[in-house]
């Protein structure tokens, strides 16, 4: 108790109406989207759907109105997010921009950058990707080698980013790279706003183990960036990136990735499951309900301007365990052989969940790295 607080989440006024409105919208929009698609969760990409959300005012909800936002609270935004995820809506196109690039721009961007980009993000028309990882820099993010060098009228970038989710379908990348010598591991880095249509940038999709192409290798070869591409302060990249991670780690996408499978499991078990199946279902529900409570609590802390990095790491670590357990437990209860793309919905959903589960404890910070952060928060390092 002395190490971390999870204050009770607030029930924002008008929450029930908002939730009902989102549910109604999703029931209509997703009526013909089968579970085998909905299981893609926040990896499902549909630019048209993102635009519709933008029109509804459900992207950039918490941002100031002058930048296209709606000035709603973080907890109202949370309601929209969790409804989208629970329904298996295809949110990948705008997810990163809404979750972290937009808030980063709001905090660190110049007036011009904010005016130029935030309203388009909020409209669901401008998509972002995260350029952090590299071939030799995964968990050890400070080891990035991609480098931006000053030129007369801006910067020139060389290097390779890897695993960049939906770079091939994004308008911008937030690039994290070196801007001075390697001796200063943290201090010598900066962030840039990179227009992905600029010359010198090659994006190559990489097939994941199921053959799907969502992440990419992004190669920079003398890519010229205008001076206005610098995001925030030169040399402050490390601190800016660390600030981003609390947004990245505590949201409902960190425990709902396989929720659609749980729904299909309940369908498969019918109205009178065995005692053993009931206990398994109940156990999973107890985990999800508690995680949801903790995660909403972190949303409240973020809204108050606190830095709940430790709590966010705890939520993500616990969440990944449950997301990965759902397919493992489902197979104990329903005898089926999983198969991606099968006509049998349960087979297809289970197949997708199994093939994607390994990523849940890698993306956004591996399990081991998160536990290291937690250990530091406990005062052990």
């Amino acid at each position: 108790m002395s190490h971390f607080a999870f204050p009770p989440p607030i029930h924002p006024p008008g929450a029930d109406d908002l939730r009902a409105e989102v549910r109604q919208f999703l029931a209509e929009e997703l009526a013909s989207r089968p579970a085998s698609q909905r299981i893609k969760s926040w990896s499902g990409y549909d630019a048209d759907f993102s635009r519709k959300l933008g029109q509804r005012g459900w992207i950039g909800m918490t941002w100031p109105k002058e930048y296209g936002g709606r000035e709603r609270s973080a907890l109202e935004r949370y309601i929209v997010l969790e409804e989208l995820l629970a329904a298996g809506a295809p949110v990948a196109a705008h997810w990163i921009a809404d979750r972290q690039s937009g808030p980063l721009l709001l905090k660190e961007g110049t007036e011009e950058q904010k005016r130029h980009l935030l309203p388009r993000i909020a409209a669901g028309e401008c998509f972002f990707c995260i350029g952090m990882s590299e071939p030799d820099s995964g968990s050890d993010l400070a080891a990035v080698r991609t480098r931006a060098v000053r030129t007369q009228d801006g910067w020139r970038v060389n290097g390779t980013k890897l695993w960049t989710t939906y770079a091939h379908k994004s308008h911008y990348m937030i690039l994290y790279c070196r801007t001075s010598g390697v001796d200063d591991r943290h201090g010598g880095t900066s962030q840039f706003l990179v227009d992905l249509t600029l010359p010198g940038i090659t994006i190559r999709p990489i097939a994941d183990l199921s053959g799907e192409r969502h992440f990419n290798e992004v190669v920079f070869e003398d890519a010229p960036l205008p001076a206005s591409a610098l995001l925030g302060t030169e040399g402050n990249g490390w601190n800016q990136v660390m600030g981003e991670l609390a947004y990245e780690r505590s949201g409902p996408e960190r425990f709902l990735s396989t929720f659609v499978l749980l729904v299909e499991l309940i369908r498969a078990l019918g109205t009178d499951p065995s005692d053993q199946a009931l206990a398994v279902l109940g156990r999973l529900c107890s985990h999800l309900a508690v995680l949801r409570r903790l995660s909403r609590s972190v949303a409240g802390l973020l809204q108050e301007g606190a830095n709940p990095a430790l709590q966010a790491a705890l939520v993500k670590d616990l969440g990944a365990v449950v997301e990965q357990e759902i397919p493992e437990l489902a197979r104990q209860l329903v005898a089926t052989e999983p198969m991606l793309g099968s006509d049998d919905i349960f087979q297809a959903v289970q197949g997708y969940a199994i093939l994607n589960a390994p990523a849940f404890s890698l993306r956004g910070g591996t399990r081991e790295i998160l536990r290291g952060i937690i250990a530091r928060g406990l005062g052990l390092r």
Partner: protein, 358 residues
Amino acid sequence: MSETSEIVRDMSARLFADLATPARLYKAEAGVWDQPAWDRVQMMGLPLALVPEEAGGVGLEAADAAGLVASAATTALPVPLAETMLANRLLADAGLPLAEGPATLAPARPGDRFTLERRGAGWHLHGGAERVPWASIAGDIVIVAEAEGQVLAARVARSDVTPLPGRNLALEPRDRLEVDLELPGDAVAPLPAGITICHPLALGAAFRTAALAGAAARVLDMTVAYANERSQFGRPIGKFQAVQQSLALMAGQVAATKGAADLAAGYLDAYSQPGGADPLPVAIGKARAGEAAGMIAAIAHQVHGAIGFTHEHALHFLTKRLWSWRDEFGNDAHWQRLIGRRMAAAGPKGLWPLLTTL
């Protein structure tokens, strides 16, 4: 949290820490009832924490009262604070006179039942319950039973029922009740509408969840402190990554017990509202905290090494409570099945709406 609640919280935390000395904990393990400790707790008014002010109580909010239970649990204080708070709340809800000393509630296990029948101007109370906490110490026992389509509370003097003593792993009294008793008419009264027969179990489980969270948090603190103190291979064991990963795992489980306790405490505020006596939040809380308790105790002992396995080291006061409390007022499986039935009834379409009511 109101200012009064904060004062109560801080003063009682100091009191619990003062009272729960190792010497007193060993004495309690040996079976000696710590009346002086109880007197101090009672003097502060804590047994009336959950009783509304209009009924002569302190009228704390449920979350704050659960916080007191958690706080007492961090010290393993061997008195029936949670049980007496709940017994008094039941008495107040039924409009019966409050207990004067330590009290408890029954039944405390899912299968146990009592029957009440009218006999003339009074009642006949009949039935049995196993492992009723602190029954042999309590002055009064509040027994909940169904009769005539209502859920009723009966106020029974312990001296009329002679509990058969038993203990849990932490050597706290868990006693058997065999009751076959005539009660005067004014010793029995109905509980508010909407309350079901599983109410005492839900109340007890809500506070056991709080207690698990309190004990869990303290075990984490002790274990982190030990990992920073104890050196092997020339450095504190907490510097080894394997130990850090275990402690991080434990911290996650402790965070879960906290979320679980907050959810479960919601029942105590809600049950008197229309439709509020739904035990689902308690089921979720108790099942989740119960599951976490085992992992927390195991990691704590692993990190403490042999010294933590001794009777002399204080760790066992807490880990034995974790191992006991998780099985009291319904074990994980009991509550998991209840949740599972609700999920199956909600069906694929109703699952998410069910989760968002919490």
